[in-house]
Amino acid sequence: MDRETLHRFLHDMLLARAFEERAAQEYSEGNIAGFLHLYPGEEAVAVGVIHATEPGDYIATTYREHVHALVRGIPPRQVMAELFGRRDGVCKGMGGSMHLFDRERRFMGGYAIVGETFPVATGIAYSIALRQLPEAVICFFGDGAVNQGTFHEALNMASLWKLPVLFVCENNHYQIGTEIHRHSAVVNVYKRACAYNIPAEKVNGMDVINVYEATRHALTQIRAGNGPQLLEFETYRFRGHSMADAGSYRPRVEVNSQTGRDPVETVIHEAKLGYPTQAEIAAAGPDLVEQLVGHSAAVGHFDDRHIEAVRDEVKRIVDDAAQFALSSPPPTMDDAWSSLYCNRQHETLTGAA
């Protein structure tokens, strides 16, 4: 791994973490509202995958997509402003946290209905294949999304027509509060691909270099015209499902719901089904960002000064983004109407308002 690439990984991983932690803080302070799904713990996936793409490639992703947007190059200012619902947001405040789009960067959207990324990505890939272009599409989705019918329909079509799409599963083992053993008959997501003759592999998603290499390899195959591939990245989210879900429910709801059960069973249940405790998170291995920092130093590319400089830089970027978002004006009703391509309200046959 060359120094430049490693630097970019380091920068983006640190930026991702800092950005998301800042978003959480802004949420607590009331500057962000609605559902806010954060990415800490999973950074290696977005960073590794998207760094392996070309500018001509397309990305389709979920509601947990701020980091994907940042890594793809959407300015942090515009991402943060969108989270704030402001006019300078990348979607003018119309879409918000779950719906980041950037046409210029081929960032084809965050989708909030689980399973929508499958057909969207397949459609983009179809249009690439039809025009015989060398581009590819990255389709992100969670482990819970795998049980949606659209997964099945899209993978069948993608394989049948050998479409250039890379299906990327961010397997964090949870569908909100439902652990993968309780939502999926097959807990190894990559095994689902056998039903469509799609080559698939499980990869450690906690190591950005691993993620990057696996993605590059898959994209090479895809660009060679061999049809879709699927990569399952095992990862872990360190926070609750969303900010509405800050962990407090586990003692309150889950423990209540266990009342009256055999305490031995309760322990087994907690271990198997509960949300991750801090201890469990720690057991998942050293934090992936710090791991990368360590690696960068170990291979001798960077010294501590350099790493501190990057930490400072991303902090400045995030501060600036938040400052920018806060001072951006709200969109107006005119902005809203003009975001609608098809507009009954403002239209008459004569064109008068």
Partner: protein, 330 residues
């Protein structure tokens, strides 16, 4: 003997009572079990009734709603929770082509004791894909009932009635009402599921509404009363069927109709309310029936625009004033 309950608690009690008295009742949906339900409606039931009767599902809305239909065919009484109504677009085949039609297509052989609960409406900055309403779609389907409770008491009553019913019932719950408290009498005899409630009597205009908007309509009536405009407020409670008689009797007295709905105006529930009441009461009416309704745009994420895209109390007041010819001087 009433007690104060929030809407989610009222629903939780209703489910609990029905489940304890009838073994054929079970509930399923995403995170209804261990997690206790996104809006806490199923809290504690998993521990009490076990995983077979309080079943956490994968994200497969079409599949598990259809599963509910299949179970209902065998005489079970499933209560399907679709985590939010926005995901019901993935389950409409099961609801419309299966639940609503099987009883008829079988020549009446099969009852359909199925309940589908769905939280919906515009909540707080959930953006366009999570701020949906589907009443217009479901109303046009013969063979479905739709209950739209606005109070904890109605939520309690209507969920119990829905579970007891042999017909498919959709319970449209509003996301902003779950944590609203209200008095609930658990033992009182309920009115028929589809009977409208007169929330306030009046003589100057009839304000027809349902779900959360019925509460705003009642607030608007309070404000209007201060200026001596006496609005009769009707909470429909059911969108299918609609209790036309109660509405018509009111119009006979007030001669003016205003419908308040959160749904988009164009082809929303209000269109049907106006069309039928206009047919039935045309010669009673002194002015064109009017609608206060959502704007014809997907829900914007930004908070101010979101609020401006659906009616508030002041919009209802303004429209009511206009209808009775008492607009405030500028």
């Amino acid at each position: 003997m009433t007690e104060t309950l929030q809407c989610w608690q009222a629903l939780n009690r209703a489910l609990d009572i029905e489940m304890s008295s009838d073994e054929s009742v079970f509930t399923l949906g995403e995170d209804v079990g261990l997690y206790g339900g996104t809006y806490r409606v199923t809290e504690g039931l998993n521990a009490k009734y076990g995983e077979w009767r309080v079943r956490d599902t994968p994200i497969s809305e079409g599949g598990f709603t259809g599963l509910g239909v299949g179970a209902a065919l065998t005489g079970m009484r499933p209560v399907v929770e679709i985590m939010t109504i926005n995901f019901a677009l993935l389950a409409l085949d099961a609801i419309i082509n299966m639940a609503a039609k099987i009883p008829f297509m079988s020549g009446g052989q099969f009852p359909m004791p199925l309940v589908i609960r769905m939280p919906g409406g515009v909540a707080r900055q959930l953006a366009a894909q999570h701020s949906q309403r589907l009443e217009h779609t479901l109303m046009n389907v013969p063979g479905l009932r739709i209950a739209v409770p606005a109070t904890p008491q109605d939520a309690y009553w209507q969920l119990r009635q829905a579970i007891a019913s042999d017909e498919p019932v959709i319970l449209l719950e509003h996301e902003l009402l779950y944590f609203e408290p209200g008095e609930v009498d658990l033992a009182a005899e309920p009115p028929p599921m589809h009977q409208a409630a007169i929330r306030r009597t009046g003589t100057d205009l009839t304000l027809v509404s349902y779900s959360r908007m019925a509460n705003l309509a009642a607030q608007a009536a309070d404000l209007l009363a201060k200026d001596n405009i006496r609005a009769e407020v009707i909470d429909l409670r059911s969108l299918s069927p609609i209790d036309w008689d109660t509405c018509a009797a009111s119009l006979h007295k007030t001669h003016r109709l205003l419908v308040a709905e959160e749904d988009c105006r164009f082809a929303g529930a209000g269109a049907e309310i106006i069309a039928t009441l206009n047919e039935r009461c045309f010669y009673d009416l002194d002015a064109a029936p009017a609608r206060v309704a959502g704007l014809d745009m997907p829900t914007p994420f930004n908070a101010e625009l979101e609020a401006a895209s659906i009616p508030g109390v002041s919009d209802i007041v303004k429209a009511a004033r206009r209808l009775v010819g008492r607009e405030k001087p500028l």
